[in-house]
Each structure stands twice: as structure tokens, then as C-alpha cells.
């Protein structure tokens, strides 16, 4: 209960006009940055962080938290509208968000994403109050072996995401793993496939590849099909407010996934490494596995948007746990924040919360308020953004390609990145035409280096023995979970079959049977 008091104090501390202005400015700025293809939360914080170095820490952290949420959500907007994830954590959102937009339900997808993010923000804030010690234990028991198993769980998404030809899907994933090997071999320090170029020693970044392969290739593909000659979108182009609201069925289909994604995301986010990405992929995986209609995933299932969006948002909150309770950054964004703590003259570490309760709880409270603000602002901005989806392709194609190019360049001011983006666009186009899976490639590219790194670390520690996975308590627990995840889809379809065989009633379990899906 003490923590609740702290949270209330934190809320009271930040409820000043100045802070609320900072909060709304941050959310808006973040959203604008996030909408730029390629610029996600990490870039958003990085770009706007210097503005805060002279502010008081509480005001600064409020603004940064707002920027974080705003840009995270901005990334969702591009993921849904133009199939371009702003950072790896929104990759999963494109799987069903973009198909929804293509079906004319862009506004609904964005509202579902906003609603799921909001729910995750609230659940995260509650969990940080009641489950922080548990999450801290997750952090302190996760070494390389556990991280490897977690990455493996993320990679299992490949099984779910590959539809159509399994061979082509695996080929796509292998291509992704191959691209991921470029750069410094972390185990030996040797350069792999850099051809002597210093620009490549950092490896091929995921973002330019994602922008090219998803955003630009999608445009090229549409142009190739001659869609620009058509009459434009079949949907009516009135941007009326009421058009964005999901119908009751969509809301119902989203609630469960959002709730599960929130809890899953929070704990996965507390692990050091790529928490939010793995969390969102795991959530997608989970939702498709337990869905009664898994075949709708990838075709615009609201659950495929709600789950991952809740998970990546909750992971962002979860990542705060190790940072606040241990002084350990759990993600690249929190690593930047930790640097900011030092700039503000705060000492990160386990005593941070004790020594600066106003700051720490102000941060948590501002994440809570930031989500409220985001939801409010989005009620007004979603119709505007959603109407973009209704602009005919012949007007939209050029700006998308220009923005994609600019966004790619802006990340590191690197022309090489632009070249990578364009190459990925061409590759993406061919992959689409030959039925390969761009999503599988991207997942492999994001998780490949993590898997390699954590496995190699594990094997250095264990002298090459795989027995280490059975020696560590946390590993064993994770292995069991992994087995469960793997077995879940089979088990569920089995149970379902048995249920439908034994019961004559059409309604299966807790929910009443719904009318046929719309759209």
C-alpha cells in the first residue's frame, strides 16, 4: 500500500500546469517524430534529450517519458498506415495493422492500438507498484542462457508467421540471419562481410532494412500492379470522427489480447536485452496460437494489433524496473535515459528510488498520465492520420518514398543506410513476387544477432556444454515455458476438437458466439 501512496504523491507532484504542458508537448513532439519512417522512440529521445539537460530532472523526465510514448505510438501509426515499423518493437504491429488499413479499417486499427497501449500503460503502472520486486528478480536471474531462451521464444514466432510455403519462409528467415552476420564478430572481434568498410563494422541496422522492405517495397509492389491508375481507395474519404471507432466485436476481440499482452510485456520488458521486440512477437505468437480463428491472423485480425501493441508498451514500463530498482538499463531507450540521469546529476543505482522518490515516482506517474494524454490527443489526431490511408496511391507514393529516404538518412546521417534501404526495397519487391516472407526475414534480422550473441556467451561460460540450460534454475523454468509455448497450439486445437465433438452446443466456452465478422 505504501507504493500506492508514492504513486499518488508522484501524481500530485507532476500535476502542475507546467508539467502538464511539458507532457502534452512531449506526446505531440514524440508522435511527430515517430511518424517519420525510421525514427522511433530511441531516436526520439536521442534527438530531444539535449533540450532537457538544463531542465529540472522531474520536468525533464516527464517530457522524455511523454516523448517516449508519443514516438512509440507514432511508430504504430506508420506501421499501420504505410506498413513501416519505426523500430523493431512495432514490427509485429504491421502483421495485422496494415492489412486492417488495406481493408479500410485504418482508424479502427489505430484506435485499437491506442486503447491497447493505454491499457498496457495502466497495467504497467499497477504492476510496477505491486510486482516490482518480482520483476527485479527476473532481471537479476537473467544471464546469457536465459536471454538466449527468451530470444528462442521470440524466434518461435517464425513458425506462426510463415504461411504458404514453409520452404520459402525458412529461406527468407535464413536470408535475415545471413544479413545479421555482417559486422563485428562479437566473440572474436573479427570482421565479417564488411569488405573493409568501417561503415559496416556496426553491422546492417534493422531500421533501413525494415523501411525498405516493408514501406517502400509495398509502394513499389502497388505501383507494379498498376494500383495508381485505379480510382483510388474504394473507401469513402470522409474523415468523420465516428468512422474511426472499432465496432463491438473488434473491441471484444481486442480486450483479451491486450490484457495478456500487458502482463507478458511487463515481465519480458524487465529482462535485459531486446525486451519490447521479443515481447510483442511473443504476444502475437500467443494470440495466434490460442485464437479460435488463427487463419484470420495476417489478414487484419484486431487481436494481432492489440496484443503486440499492449506488449511493447508494457515492456517499456517493465524496462523501467531494472533501471529504477537496480540502475541497470534494460533497453536502448532506457540506456539513453540512464545517461540523462547522470547529466541531471542523479546517481543511478538501487538507491535511486529511495533517494529521489519524487523523481522516480514522478516518472512512473508521468508514464501513466502520458498514456491518458496520448489517448486524448489521439481521439483528435487519428481521424487525420486515418484519412491518409484513404489518399489515392498516385498522390501518396512519392511522399512515402521521399519520407522513407529522408528518415533513413536522418537516423545516422549515413548515405550507406539509404543504399541499404533501397536495396532492401528491391529485395523486398522480389521476395513478395516470389512468395517469400519479408516478415520472417525481419524477425530473423532483429533476433539473429541477439540469439548468436547470447548463445556464444552461454557457451563461453559453460565451456561449450549445453548442460548449462539445465543447471540454472531460471533456465529450467524458461525451458518449461518454451515447451509449453511450442505445445500450446497443438494442445488447444486438440481440446477444441474434443469440445466440439462432445458438446452439441455451438457456444464453446466463456464467450457467446458472435455474428460473422465484418469487413
Amino acid at each position: 500500500m505504501e507504493t500506492i501512496n508514492y504513486l499518488v504523491d508522484g501524481l500530485a507532484a507532476i500535476l502542475t500546469v507546467k508539467n502538464l504542458l511539458l507532457l502534452s508537448a512531449g506526446v505531440l513532439l514524440g508522435q511527430i517524430i515517430g511518424v517519420m519512417p525510421g525514427l522511433g522512440p530511441t531516436a526520439g529521445i536521442a534527438i530531444l534529450l539535449p533540450l532537457t539537460f538544463n531542465a529540472d530532472p522531474t520536468g525533464a523526465i516527464i517530457m522524455l517519458a511523454a516523448i517516449y510514448y508519443g514516438s512509440m505510438y507514432g511508430g504504430t501509426i506508420t506501421a499501420v498506415l504505410i506498413n513501416t515499423p519505426g523500430e523493431s518493437a512495432t514490427v509485429a504491429t504491421t502483421f495485422d495493422g496494415y492489412p486492417m488499413a488495406k481493408k479500410g479499417r485504418a482508424g479502427q486499427a489505430l484506435v485499437i492500438a491506442a486503447g491497447a497501449s493505454f491499457m498496457a500503460g495502466i497495467v504497467g503502472a499497477v504492476l510496477i507498484c505491486v510486482a516490482a520486486p518480482l520483476a527485479t528478480r527476473v532481471t537479476t536471474s537473467f544471464g546469457p542462457p536465459e536471454i538466449f531462451l527468451l530470444v528462442l521464444a521470440g524466434l518461435l514466432t517464425l513458425v506462426v508467421i510463415i504461411d504458404g510455403s514453409i520452404l520459402l519462409g525458412l529461406l527468407s528467415a535464413l536470408l535475415g540471419f545471413a544479413i545479421a552476420t555482417v559486422g563485428l564478430d562479437v566473440g572474436t572481434g573479427a570482421q565479417r562481410f564488411t569488405f573493409g568498410s568501417p561503415d559496416l563494422i556496426g553491422g546492417i541496422d534493422f531500421v533501413p532494412v525494415a523501411i525498405g522492405m516493408f514501406g517502400v517495397a509495398e509502394v513499389l509492389q502497388a505501383l507494379l500492379r498498376g494500383e495508381h491508375r485505379g480510382p483510388g481507395s474504394p473507401v469513402d474519404s470522409s474523415g468523420r470522427l465516428r468512422d474511426i471507432w472499432p465496432n463491438r466485436q473488434e473491441v471484444r476481440e481486442s480486450t483479451g489480447p491486450a490484457a495478456r499482452g500487458s502482463v507478458l510485456g511487463f515481465f519480458v520488458g524487465a529482462t535485459p536485452g531486446a525486451g519490447a521486440t521479443i515481447a510483442s512477437l511473443m504476444s502475437y505468437n500467443l494470440e495466434k496460437s490460442i485464437s479460435k480463428e488463427p487463419e484470420r491472423f495476417g489478414q487484419g485480425a484486431p487481436a494481432g494489433v492489440a496484443g503486440p501493441e499492449a506488449a511493447n508498451n508494457a515492456a517499456a514500463t517493465g524496462a523501467l524496473v531494472p533501471m529504477l530498482s537496480l540502475g541497470i538499463p534494460g533497453s536502448s531507450s532506457t540506456a539513453i535515459l540512464l545517461g540523462a540521469f547522470l547529466m541531471w546529476g542523479l546517481q543511478p543505482g538501487p538507491l535511486l528510488m529511495e533517494q529521489n522518490p519524487e523523481f522516480a515516482w514522478g516518472l512512473i506517474a508521468s508514464m501513466f498520465l502520458g498514456n491518458v494524454m496520448l489517448l486524448l490527443i489521439n481521439v483528435f489526431t487519428i481521424p487525420v492520420f486515418a484519412s491518409i490511408a484513404k489518399v489515392p496511391l498516385r498522390y501518396l507514393a512519392t511522399p512515402i518514398i521521399v519520407l522513407a529516404t529522408y528518415g533513413t538518412y536522418a537516423i545516422n546521417k549515413s548515405v550507406l543506410d539509404v543504399a541499404v534501404m533501397l536495396a532492401a526495397a528491391v529485395l523486398g519487391l522480389f521476395m513478395r513476387r516470389f512468395g517469400m516472407s519479408c516478415a520472417a526475414l525481419i524477425i530473423a534480422l532483429v533476433l539473429g544477432p541477439l540469439a548468436e550473441m547470447s548463445l556464444r556467451q552461454t557457451l563461453i561460460i559453460s565451456d561449450g556444454s549445453l548442460g548449462i540450460f539445465l543447471e540454472r534454475q531460471a533456465s529450467v523454468v524458461l525451458l518449461a515455458c518454451l515447451g509449453a509455448i511450442f505445445a500450446l497450439p497443438f494442445a488447444i486445437s486438440r481440446i477444441r476438437r474434443r469440445l466440439s465433438a462432445s458438446s452439441a452446443k455451438p457456444s464453446e466456452t466463456d464467450e457467446p458466439k458472435l455474428p460473422t465478422p465484418l469487413g
Partner: protein, 332 residues
């Protein structure tokens, strides 16, 4: 410089600027140092940070720029830009490409030495025009707070008995690895070194009992030490750190001096002497300001001031040391 004097100087600057463009030299003299001729500086400064926000280079660069602005030392604009990528190769490569210019500048860190060792960057630290070394970031040798090792001697006894211990750090061709190798060979035990990408992962690996020890900068771990989650057994700096005076230095434990992470400032290769002299004179003032002293203490840095060619020599020597160790270990 008092405020009223500054104001008068500013007024003089405005008046002069109205008279002729050539008065730009008076701007540099009036607000910077008095002994430099020529018209430096008369343009905006393109300040490169070779790493992302929040890192050591970033914090250092922003602090220097803040002091330059507060003290009105640089009369023109300074444009700060994070150009991260390739362990600094991108940012410093960008500075390298401004050969001959006096209007590009960047801070340097340990990677300024190690990155050219591991990649074909086309430059080494010695190619750049040195301004000077400013601070070093020394490290603590850290073990878990609940471990049985209370002192460095405890650790060495354990490591020797075990033969090979597992330690970790960021990267492989990095100072962390070199330090671990140096102390292990001096104390007479072997290590398995586990490389990580980020500081946070190393700390998490230590707490999760995946590794037994690590090196970490004061900024990251002073809070951990204070809270008892981790314990520092040794400090690599020549003097104990003010915030942790009880942690013995490597030298006080009878070890040879250990290399540290040198932070400095460089201009592009072949920068004009006027630019180099201006920056050396100006930075001499910066390192005397209270704001600078406070910054150093807050970050857990140690003062390590050397100027001009002395800095280049230091870079060259450190490079040789690193190269020798890394070659011996087969990492290069």
C-alpha cells in the same frame, strides 16, 4: 571575467562588426584569448559526437559546449551532432574527412584507440590535430555484493585456486578486456572473457551469477556500491576516487599502473595552427571553471590534462600497449 567586462566586450564587438567584416578577429580576441592573431574563429563550429546521446562522449561534449556558451568563449554558433555507428568509426571518420579545416571538432574516448585497431578505418588517433587530453575514466573491479570476496586478496586466492574464472565486459577489443588480461596475468590466474554489447547486460550477467567479476566506470556503479548490490575490490586510477576513498587503487595493491579510458579533444587532420592554438588556450580556461570541476566529480572522472603533442604521444603509446596485449591474446 566579470559580467560588466563581458558586456563591454560584447558592445565593442557589435560596434566593430558594424565597421568592417575584418573585425571578426576582434571577436575571437575579445571573448576568447588575447594572444592569437588571425581571424579564428569566425565560423560556426561543427561539433561531432561519435557516439549516441547519454554516453561518455556525449556528456563530455555537451558539458564543454555548455561552459563555452556560459562563459561566452566561442563567439559563433556551435552545432552539436551525434554521429554514431561502428564504435565511433562513423563520427571520427566524418571529422577525418574535414581535413585542413579548423571548424570541425570531436571528443575522443578509449574507442579512439581501439576502433582503428580492429577495423580498417583509414585513420588512427595520431592523424588528427590534437587539442588535448582532458579527463580519464578509470574503472572499478566489481564482484557481487553477496559474494565471499571482501578484498582483492580474497579474489586472487579464489581465482588462483580455481585456475580459470569467468569475467565479462563490453566488447572484446576494448579496454575492459585489456584490463582483465593485464591483472589476470599479473596475479597469475586465467580468465574466460564473455563479451557483451551493453553495460546493462554485463551488470545483469554479474547479478545473475553468470560471470564472477567485471570492470565498470564509476558513473554506472557508484550507486550499486553504495547500495551493497555489488562490491568494488579495486580501482584502476592512480589515486582513489573521491566518492569511494576506501576502494584501494591497483598501485596500492602492488600492481603496475593500469591503462585508463582517456577522454580528449581533437580537430581534423592538418587543422590550421591558429585553430589549434585557440582551442588549447580556450580549453585551458574551461578546465579551470567550477562548472567543469563539478562535472568531473559528478561523473566520477579523474582529471588528466595534457596538451598538444603530449596528447598525441600519449595516444601513440597507449595504442602500442593495447596492440601488444591484444596481439599476444590473439584478438588481433
Amino acid at each position: 571575467m566579470t559580467i560588466s567586462l563581458m558586456k563591454r566586450v560584447k558592445v565593442a564587438i557589435v560596434a566593430l562588426a558594424l565597421v568592417a567584416a575584418a573585425s571578426a578577429c576582434a571577436v575571437g580576441e575579445g571573448s576568447g584569448n588575447g594572444d592569437e592573431g588571425g581571424d579564428y574563429p569566425s565560423q560556426a563550429m561543427d561539433w561531432t559526437i561519435a557516439f549516441g546521446p547519454g554516453g561518455g562522449n556525449d556528456r563530455l561534449s555537451r558539458q564543454i559546449v555548455e561552459i563555452l556558451q556560459q562563459e561566452d568563449l566561442y563567439p559563433e554558433d556551435i552545432m552539436l551532432e551525434n554521429r554514431e555507428g561502428g564504435s565511433g568509426a562513423t563520427g571520427w571518420g566524418y571529422l577525418y574527412s574535414q581535413k585542413g579545416s579548423g571548424y570541425g571538432i570531436a571528443t575522443t574516448s578509449g574507442s579512439f584507440i581501439t576502433t582503428p585497431l580492429q577495423a580498417d578505418t583509414g585513420w588512427t588517433g595520431a592523424d588528427f590535430t590534437p587539442v588535448g587530453s582532458l579527463v580519464t575514466e578509470d574503472s572499478f573491479f566489481m564482484v557481487r555484493g553477496d559474494s565471499a570476496f571482501k578484498t582483492w586478496a580474497d579474489w586472487v586466492a579464489y581465482a588462483k585456486e580455481k585456475g580459470t574464472v569467468t569475467v565479462g565486459g563490453t566488447g572484446l577489443i576494448q579496454i575492459n578486456f585489456i584490463l582483465q588480461k593485464l591483472i589476470a596475468s599479473e596475479a597469475g590466474y586465467k580468465i574466460k572473457y564473455v563479451p557483451f554489447n551493453e553495460d546493462g547486460q554485463v551488470q545483469s550477467a554479474l547479478l545473475s551469477k553468470s560471470i564472477d567479476a567485471m570492470f565498470a566506470g564509476p558513473g554506472e556503479v557508484l550507486g550499486q556500491i553504495e547500495a551493497g548490490k555489488m562490491r568494488a575490490l579495486m580501482f584502476t586510477g592512480p589515486e582513489p576516487l573521491a566518492q569511494a576513498p576506501d576502494i584501494p587503487t591497483a598501485e596500492s595493491l602492488g600492481m603496475a599502473p593500469l591503462p585508463s579510458q582517456p577522454y580528449g579533444l581533437v580537430l581534423p587532420p592538418d587543422a590550421p595552427d591558429s585553430a589549434k592554438d585557440w582551442w588549447i588556450a580556450t580549453m585551458k580556461k574551461v578546465v579551470e571553471t567550477p562548472a567543469w570541476k563539478k562535472f568531473i566529480e559528478q561523473q566520477g572522472f579523474s582529471e588528466n590534462v595534457m596538451w598538444d603533442a603530449e596528447f598525441t604521444t600519449y595516444l601513440e603509446q597507449t595504442t602500442e600497449t593495447f596492440k601488444r596485449i591484444l596481439t599476444e591474446e590473439g584478438a588481433l
